[in-house]
Symmetry: C2
Subunit: 240 residues, 2 copies
Amino acid sequence: MAYYDYKIAGPSPPPALSDRLRLYHVEMNPYGHRVMLILEAKRAKYEVYHLNPLKLPTWFRDKNPRLKIPVLEIPTEHGDRYLFESVIICDYLDEKYAANSLHSREPYVKAQDRLIVERFNELIKGSLECFDTNFAFGSEQIVQTLEILEKELAFRGTNYFSGSRPGMLDYMIWPWVERLYLLRCISEKKFEQKKALFPNFSDWGDQMQLDRVVKKLAHSPAEYFDYYKNASTHTMGYYI
Amino acid sequence: MAYYDYKIAGPSPPPALSDRLRLYHVEMNPYGHRVMLILEAKRAKYEVYHLNPLKLPTWFRDKNPRLKIPVLEIPTEHGDRYLFESVIICDYLDEKYAANSLHSREPYVKAQDRLIVERFNELIKGSLECFDTNFAFGSEQIVQTLEILEKELAFRGTNYFSGSRPGMLDYMIWPWVERLYLLRCISEKKFEQKKALFPNFSDWGDQMQLDRVVKKLAHSPAEYFDYYKNASTHTMGYYI
């Protein structure tokens, strides 16, 4: 299902890093999707190892006792190190590859964007699990989240949250929005009705889908529908 | 009880900002303490308004419907704006007053420090409420937190988490550690026994207490003891 190159994390740890970063990722995981968007936006050199969250290798458990996923492995002067938490990993990448900054260089705007991401993180907790039992339109959590984002886009009056091109805030929320399009597979009509309630946000979503970085990592609504339909046999508990 | 100058937030909103920042603070609140430490470390020009969390003025509720405390009010080109979440406020201040950076300029170290603060935030949730019912030595939460910090200091081999002087991580955890010294008021002997279990951390605490910024905002163990003894009559629910 993945269009990017990847390796499977096996019983032996991968070799030490030399010229690239390494992402440990669970396929279809939106938090790992976040990190890949930033790696691509930064044109970083990286490789992806897929993990089966139900069969995590011992070496991975040893290096990551709290079993956080995704993990970015990076070379440091003290050897390779693990970095956790998608938002912190992405901020790290934005600072490490400082050209073409994805965060605003204006501290107040950056702080506002971080607040929106934190609020978003709170609101979406468990929102994908909604897909698990039924594909309800307009679950309260999702509507509340979309209302906040619609209002914010209208207030900013820009094509993207970050201005005239996608920035950190755009990419941080995108993985969940891309998955929302799966509702098309249930009822195109209902989907369009809901979409009309959030005109700015809908335009934003349409534009995001044309972005080079977004396109490179995109899955279709049908793929997501298929995936979440069988979610109970997957690994919902690992969306961390 | 406060040694700093402050005003009381009354029924009318304070005047628009001109030459300084404004912090809305609940007295003795450790999250507000965090922000004040950074304001002082940065030698920012600011004023403090005390709020009574049980009687929040209407104008404050209107501007801050989620009732977040502390709040930093800052002048922007679009007028005065509120900024929330102690960690985000402190990171904002570190970027706005960029000279004398409190975060490491090495992105990986900064990311590690942010991870430790996030872990700390999770662990301490509700830890001060322990003081509410009994002043237990070695509640599991507190011991687990101290073990992580002790190990980290030993690993770093530096006087402060941030090296040879206090930095962002040091100040982010300090308000809770300063309050921990109130255990002295219950049993000096038990306190010293516990302290001996965390030698690096104890040395760090002793040194932090000599820091200019820490000293300026410090309360004594007796003051904290007195405060938390009566905590149920205070505003424990507002430690957000």
